[in-house]
């Protein structure tokens, strides 16, 4: 069943026309099983009632799109007359297969075949607000309310079956949506017989959507049958045969096309626009301007592109440079006065320990801005008809976009909806999506549906950026080569980090002059490792570039924000310390992990040890210090390991590289990942997400850097902001799903998040492998050929 390719229907349209059976409702009440004791926290009306009556919540009036009520079972699950089920969840699937995993979890709890289910995601008027996606926490956090509501639906269905079959629930079996009398299997009733096409009318509990629950408990892991299997992703066939309607494909009658005109110089002020430069072009409709936001609207798409390129506008240069050049970035950052600092009390006495150490080493690491550079530029279609606003968008956080756009346009929230549809890779870019805001603004201005899409140079130059970092590290070893002190100083160019579709943080409203009173402080993270280091200082600070608003160097959440940068520095430096002590890199890390025995409830230390051992075993790691004795050939090889955790998920990765000494070219020939995210819902889906996440970090390792001069970003396409290519692909990627629970008293770990964790260690694993192969330590990404060759030459390799 695949219904996600079309616009999801409201519950009324999905259900049959018949009214709910009064007898069933009465039965539930009299049996005491319906949950009506939710008191003040319960919504008193169903979403269907509130659609006409309103429920008094902020922003809720008489509009057509009231918030779906998460405390109503009907908001989550519909049983159809053909004994199939549709699940409604407030998440979005950015291509990692979370939708398939949600179906598996909910089908398991409901006791219905996976193939008899379908899923609707992320459309704000029909699915409860679970925030959309982000943070790799869909399975870890949002899967629980989904499982509980499915379990509750199963419980209610069994009660109905009990009445229908005249037998207590304990005497019933349920399998594949058919309830059978244990003692007499010929007596059975289907879910469709019991409730097909009708509402449950069952209230749920919970202070917020994450706590949503009925009274039923979820199944123990041993009882799960679909979880742990690998059904194929339902969204892949329509993506492969061309039948899927993506957000970019949406059309409406009367639709027109828009394109933006961005300031040619960052911080430029729009003085005037010469409309006569485009008004005679075919299909021209209007130039729309507000502040420094400028767009042109035409009948046809190619006409809008032409008009946007032809439009003559007079921009005033800012009085001072908006930012240093990308070549000057790191020296600028090191000299800048921090906008915020975080320096918690150290563990032990790092200064004294360093002073007394037998060996002290220091190093600085640099990470430039890196782009999201989505494969398809930002886009949306907005429909302003009938006093409402519908935005068709691939925004991963559709709910935030709805609230943001309602505020942006001054419309009541219940007159605005966002219909989430599939789109190009998200990875945080669409956590702050500009195109939806722009399309909605233009649609309101024009009074017709407006489809807007950014151009490639616009997307690459003006999308949100992954934060640039500088690091300064010091470490001390005692005479036995033990790590006795570690000092970590990180600086992030992250001042005014954008948020999640808040009006003040999207670029279009900044261009229109909107300012937050206090810019977001941003963040510079610390390493995520379970190492025990007796004397440890971890200080972080955030710095600002001169231009804070309307800047193409605004930072946003790029897949595991900060993690790849921080782990590049920290896990490379751990490797430097291991080499300084002449200790094998795996043994050095295991020594730091086994130096203590305290652990958290997720057994993160024990599982860290397990993934490092598993990765080393899968790779066939030979124990020896790095670097290895270098060969005399043109191409030399080596291996490196790095490890990190994110939330409760732990990973260790090993890279094997070949380095060409004549050209500086690095090929990562093999990757190994040992991965522990607790209970695995769909192992094959997980494997692919791990592979692709590692390769995304490999692209950042080898290729990606945003370059800019004193006026503008000069990385504007796939030549000037290159990306990983087919030719860079490793010959072998081995993924080991460890998922070991060291506690013999428990049969399983809960499911944790997957996706972003694997992005963390990859850069360091490659850097460590290059060091192993060449003896040269690379401390600044990307490892493009010319940079590597220069370092090899400097190191006389």
């Amino acid at each position: 069943m695949t219904i996600f390719t079309s616009i999801p229907k409201k519950l009324e349209e999905v259900l049959e026309a018949r009214a709910p059976l009064a007898s069933r409702r009465d039965f539930l009440k009299t049996s005491g099983l319906i949950v009506v004791s939710v008191g003040a926290v319960a919504a008193s009306v169903s979403p269907l009632v509130s659609a006409v009556g309103g429920n008094g919540a902020e922003g809720q009036g008489t509009g057509p799109y009231p918030d779906p009520d998460f405390r109503q079972l009907d908001s989550w699950i519909v049983i159809h007359g053909d004994n199939t089920a549709t699940f409604y969840v407030g998440k979005t699937d950015c291509g990692q297969g979370t939708g398939t995993a949600f179906r598996q979890m909910m089908a398991d709890e409901l006791d219905i075949g996976y193939d008899s289910t379908s899923l609707v995601m992320g459309s704000t008027d029909v699915t409860p607000d679970q925030g959309g996606s982000g943070g790799s926490d869909a399975i870890q956090r949002d899967g629980w309310p989904m499982r509980r509501v499915a379990a509750e639906a199963r419980r209610v269905l069994l009660e109905l079956a009990s009445e229908r079959l005249g037998a207590p629930v304990e005497e019933l079996l349920v399998n594949e949506a058919v309830v059978t009398l244990k003692a007499n299997p010929s007596r059975q009733v289907t879910y469709a017989d019991l409730i097909g096409g009708q509402r449950f009318d069952v209230s749920l509990m919970g202070r917020n959507v994450n706590e949503t629950t009925g009274v039923a408990e979820v199944k123990p892991v041993e009882a799960l049958r679909i979880v742990g299997q690998s059904p194929m992703r339902y969204d892949i066939p329509p993506k492969v045969d061309g039948s899927l309607t993506w957000a970019v494909d949406m059309t409406l009658p009367g639709m027109v096309h828009a394109r933006n005109i961005k300031p040619p110089i960052a911080g430029g002020r729009l003085r005037s626009v010469d409309e006569s430069s485009v008004e005679n072009l075919p299909g021209f409709i209007r130039v729309v301007r507000k502040g420094n936001y400028l767009a042109v609207v035409c009948e046809r798409e190619e006409q809008a592109i032409t008009a946007a390129r032809r439009l003559k506008a007079d921009w005033e240069k800012p009085s001072s440079a908006p930012f240093p050049t990308s070549e000057e970035l790191f020296s600028y950052m090191r000299a800048a006065t921090p906008t915020s600092k975080f320096e918690p009390d150290p563990t032990g006495d790092p200064e004294a320990a360093l002073a007394g150490a037998a060996t002290v080493i220091e190093a600085e690491y640099d990470v430039p801005f890196q782009g999201h550079t989505a494969f398809g530029p930002a886009h949306a279609l907005a429909d302003p008809s009938d006093g409402q606003m519908t935005i068709y968008s691939n925004d991963m956080k559709s709910y935030g976009m709805r609230v943001g756009i309602a505020e942006f346009l001054g419309m009541p929230r219940d007159r605005v909806r966002v219909v989430w549809m599939e789109g190009p890779q998200a990875y945080g870019r669409t956590a702050a999506d500009d195109a939806g805001f722009e399309a909605a603004f233009l649609a309101k201005e024009i009074g017709r549906p407006v489809r807007l899409q950014w151009m490639r140079d616009e997307e690459t130059a003006w999308d949100t950026k992954g934060t640039a970092f500088t690091f300064a590290l010091r470490g001390g070893l005692d005479v036995q080569g033990n790590l006795v002190a570690f000092e970590y100083n990180a600086q992030a160019a992250d001042h005014n980090h954008v948020g999640y579709n808040e009006v003040e943080t999207v670029l279009v409203s900044q261009l229109m002059g909107t300012r937050l009173e206090t810019p977001n402080s941003g963040r510079a993270a610390t390493p995520s490792a379970m190492y025990t280091i007796p004397n440890l200082r971890e200080a972080t600070q955030v710095v600002s570039l001169p231009m804070v608003w309307e800047t193409p160097l605004r930072t946003g959440n790029l897949r595991d924000p900060n993690g790849p940068q921080v782990t590049f520095a920290s896990e490379s430096f751990i490797d430097e310390l291991a080499a300084a002590g002449n200790v094998d890199p795996v043994a050095f890390r295991l020594g730091l992990l086994t130096a203590s025995t305290d652990d958290d409830s997720g057994f993160k230390r024990a599982r860290s040890i397990a993934v490092i051992r598993a990765a080393a075993e899968a790779y066939g790691w030979d124990t020896r210090p790095s670097p290895k004795a270098r060969g005399e050939g043109i191409v030399v090889s080596g291996r490196g390991i790095a490890y990190a955790y994110r939330s409760e998920t732990v990973v260790a990765e090993i890279a094997e590289v070949e380095v060409n000494r004549d050209t500086g070219h690095v090929w990562v020939k093999r990757l190994v990942c040992a991965h522990d995210c607790g209970l695995v819902i769909n192992p094959e889906g997980l494997r692919r997400t791990i592979e692709c996440g590692m390769l995304h970090s490999l692209s950042r390792t080898l290729h990606e850097e945003v370059q800019f001069d004193n006026e503008k970003v000069t990385s504007v396409n796939w030549r000037s902001h290159p990306s990983l290519l087919h030719a860079d692909t490793p010959a072998v990627i081995d993924v080991v799903l460890v998922n070991g629970d060291p506690n013999p008293g428990r049969s399983d770990l809960p499911p944790y998040g997957a996706g972003e964790t694997v992005c963390k260690p990859l850069i360091a694993a490659v850097a460590n492998a290059i060091f192993d192969a060449t003896g040269v330590r690379l401390r600044r990404i990307p490892f493009r050929d010319e940079r590597v060759l220069a370092e090899l030459t400097a190191g006389a390799v």
Partner: protein
């Protein structure tokens, strides 16, 4: 800076004459009335309602807009409609008689896509590659596919899927679902 020019940059300013252009797409002949300098991509998408080819860069650098014209994988974002000669095949036209092309089937069996937005270019580039070279080496696959970008980085599975197609075509058997999720 030709990259920064619009699709109609070389035409004279002002209203231009539309003209009728006849195209054969997926075996069906269409006549459209458009400016002859319009890139093929926009005609396929906006006049013919096709969803396979899509805009990625408009510069011929990424492959999102790929179509096959007389056996050659072609960037429709850079191809002016007036210059199109030959039969066009898009992603929608690969399947025959309700049966997916072996490349498409391998993509499903190998569970290749993440977001999937680039896969039009990947599938059509692979199809054209295999039509010209039914038994490519690993190096030929890596080099032959390199113009097709993927930002979800599904390259490893794409290459596995292409090898799967080669194996299937060599053995004359269809790939089993079980092999896809080993």
């Amino acid at each position: 800076m030709s990259e920064q020019e619009g699709p109609t940059a070389r035409s004279v300013k002002g209203a231009r004459s539309m003209s009728e252009v006849t195209l054969t797409v997926n075996g069906v002949t269409h006549t459209v009335d458009v400016d002859p300098v319009t890139p093929l991509l926009y005609v396929l998408r906006n006049d013919l309602g096709l969803k396979g080819p899509r805009f990625g860069c408009g510069l011929g650098q990424c492959g999102a807009c790929t179509v096959i014209i007389d056996g050659v994988a072609t960037r429709s974002c850079m191809t002016r409609i007036a210059r199109v000669q030959g039969a066009i095949t898009t992603l929608e036209g690969l399947a025959k008689d309700g049966e997916l092309h072996p490349v498409q089937q391998a993509w499903i069996d190998e569970q290749v896509p993440q977001c999937g937005f680039c896969q039009n270019g990947q599938i059509l580039t692979a199809k054209a590659l295999l039509d010209q070279n039914p038994n490519p080496t690993d190096t030929e696959i890596r080099e032959g596919m390199s113009g097709a970008l993927c930002r979800c980085m599904t390259y490893y599975r794409i290459q596995a899927a292409i090898k799967r197609v080669v194996g299937v075509m060599a053995s004359g058997q269809s790939a089993s679902v079980e092999e896809g999720v080993k």
